[in-house]
Amino acid sequence: MGRYIVKRLLTAIVAFFGITIITYILASLMPGTPLDMLVQPGSGLSAEEIAEIEHRMGLDQPLIVQYFYWLGNMLQGNFGTSYSQYRPVWDLLMDRIGPTLLLSISSLVIALLIAVPLGTIAGYKAYSGWDYGSTIIAFIGRGAPTFFVALLLIYVFSIQLGWLPASGMYDAGSTGSFTQLVAHMALPCATMVLANIGVFTRQMRNSAVECLSEDYIRTARAKGMSEKTVLFKHMLRNALQPVVTSAGLALPSLVGGSIVIEQIFAWPGMGTLMLRSIQGRDYPTIMGITVLISVVVLVGNVLLDILYRLLDPRIGDKA
């Protein structure tokens, strides 16, 4: 296990460098240079003064030197200064990552808490009304664009019924309480849960069907164990593994999808910051968000891979 973790961490580090290289290349392709942002036309600076600024910022160095300069700074927590908000990007990211993680992780957990029992029942009673019902839910969940679901939820629950707020994290102008947070989180969270629940339920159902036909289940039943023990002790642990895998695969789209959802619900997370930075061509912030979001996904995948190993010790050290 220890050896596996070390190996998995090494591949994650390689991936991290890959991510930074891709981000850097893309940022350097973006129209306009950082200099254009700092030196406005008509600033009255002489050519020498501009060259001096360029030199101080390292912009006269070759691209590869600039990359290592940026990487080195970033590893020390210095992501540069936001062009549009004149604050360190790191501070902006730290303000925003909490709300994004809160929304994504609670949605993932809630989706799994609903999908696992639902899928297990559907698999246990395969080809019953339950099964077909969950299939239909799964199909709609897979086909529904999150932003459309979000708009429908706002239309029904905020506008028609007036039950839940449609934007922000707390009521405007208030210090914010836990109840307010839950109320504000309900709709964005429901959107994300609906987007993911279908795939998880389907996966759980299929793997439950498969597990129930295994020999060890027949053996357990033949030994006269109660159906409850068979289901919860023998089947569930094995049937959960593919669901863990698909939760890992869903992670990038979950975090990516949260960008759109945050925008609709004016959730003060990384997604809204990303879109605002894109509109303001705030490159240091765009780069910082891309790297940080990717690192969150990377760490999430490493943790899920390790969890997968813990669930099934039979897998060798081959991967």
Partner: protein, 290 residues
């Protein structure tokens, strides 16, 4: 010899079609899809729709003249829905084609040569996979200003790893088959083996990946356009029609502006997914139809 080959091919095709038609929901998906495409291309001609014509009726509710109402600048929403559907479907198909053109060769090369090629290509796929597609799409549209073809390329560039992974894993088993070994033994060139022996046998998974790629490409395009960073007005897509609903007032009082394009995306994605499920089961005789 040639005749026997066609007989085998016909039999395979017939079996595949038979397995597909046993999947009732998949047939429903296909019928809805065909009907939708026919309507999207036929109706604008029959109705003489003008999607960009600005009429004096701003934000008009559905009426006999404008069955789906008009938008905030007075354009006919039915016309925009029909032309928007053509654009959305077109981008979906072309973007997945780009993904396939990048992803399939890389997957075959990684699976066939293994070694360094495998490590480099599969690591690159991992890296692309850990940057959320939406995030990469947003950065790319900032670099290349959005238009029909740049959106196609952007979604194509971000989505290739799914093809590569799938092709890679099926090539790993194909390369161990006797016919590949035989071809190698008689000194066939690697490129010939890959194109003539491996590619045809990896086509089924590629076709399935293609089918499932289209809905996610349509989803990416509509998300970008919804955010105002995709296809730009006056050209319409289902996504940028939904952009009007960024304002809560529109969501609340003018549902005709955002419900029809949303429903169109929903119906399209569900039918393609249903069709894809049927296709996957039909192409793989090992899975049971259920």
């Amino acid at each position: 010899m040639k005749q026997s080959k066609t007989i085998v091919k016909d039999a395979y095709l017939r079996d595949t079609i038979e397995r597909f038609t046993r999947h009732k929901m998949a047939v429903v998906g296909l019928v809805v899809l065909v009907l939708e495409i026919v309507l999207l291309f036929l109706l604008p001609v029959l109705l003489g729709s003008k999607p960009n014509e600005i009429t004096p009726y701003f934000s008009a509710a559905p009426s006999a003249e404008f069955p789906l109402g008009t938008d905030t600048t007075g354009r006919d929403l039915l016309a925009r829905l029909l032309y928007g559907g053509q654009t959305s479907l077109g981008i979906g198909l072309l973007a997945v084609l780009v993904q396939a053109i990048i992803g399939i060769p890389l997957g075959i090369i990684a699976g066939y040569y293994r070694g360094t090629a495998e490590v480099v290509i599969m690591r690159l796929a991992d890296i692309f996979n850990s940057i959320p597609n939406m995030c990469l799409n947003l950065v790319l549209v900032t670099v290349f200003s959005p238009s029909f073809w740049t959106i196609v390329m952007v979604i194509g560039i971000t989505g290739w790893p799914s093809f590569t992974r799938l092709l890679y894993s099926s090539v790993l088993s194909i390369r161990e088959k006797e016919y590949v070994e035989a071809a190698r033994a008689i000194g066939t060139k690697n490129s010939t083996i890959m194109i003539q022996y491996i590619l045809p046998n990896a086509l089924s998974p590629a076709l399935v990946a293609f089918t499932f790629g289209v809905p996610s490409a349509i989803l990416s395009e509509s998300a970008l356009s919804f955010l105002g960073l995709g296809i730009q007005i006056p050209q319409s897509t289902w996504g940028n029609m939904l952009n009007a609903a960024q304002s809560l007032a529109v969501v609340a009082t003018q549902p005709w502006m955002w419900i029809p394009p949303g429903l169109c995306i929903l119906i399209t994605l569900i039918s393609i997914n249903l069709f894809g499920d049927g296709l996957r089961d039909a192409l793989d005789p090992k899975t049971k139809v259920g």
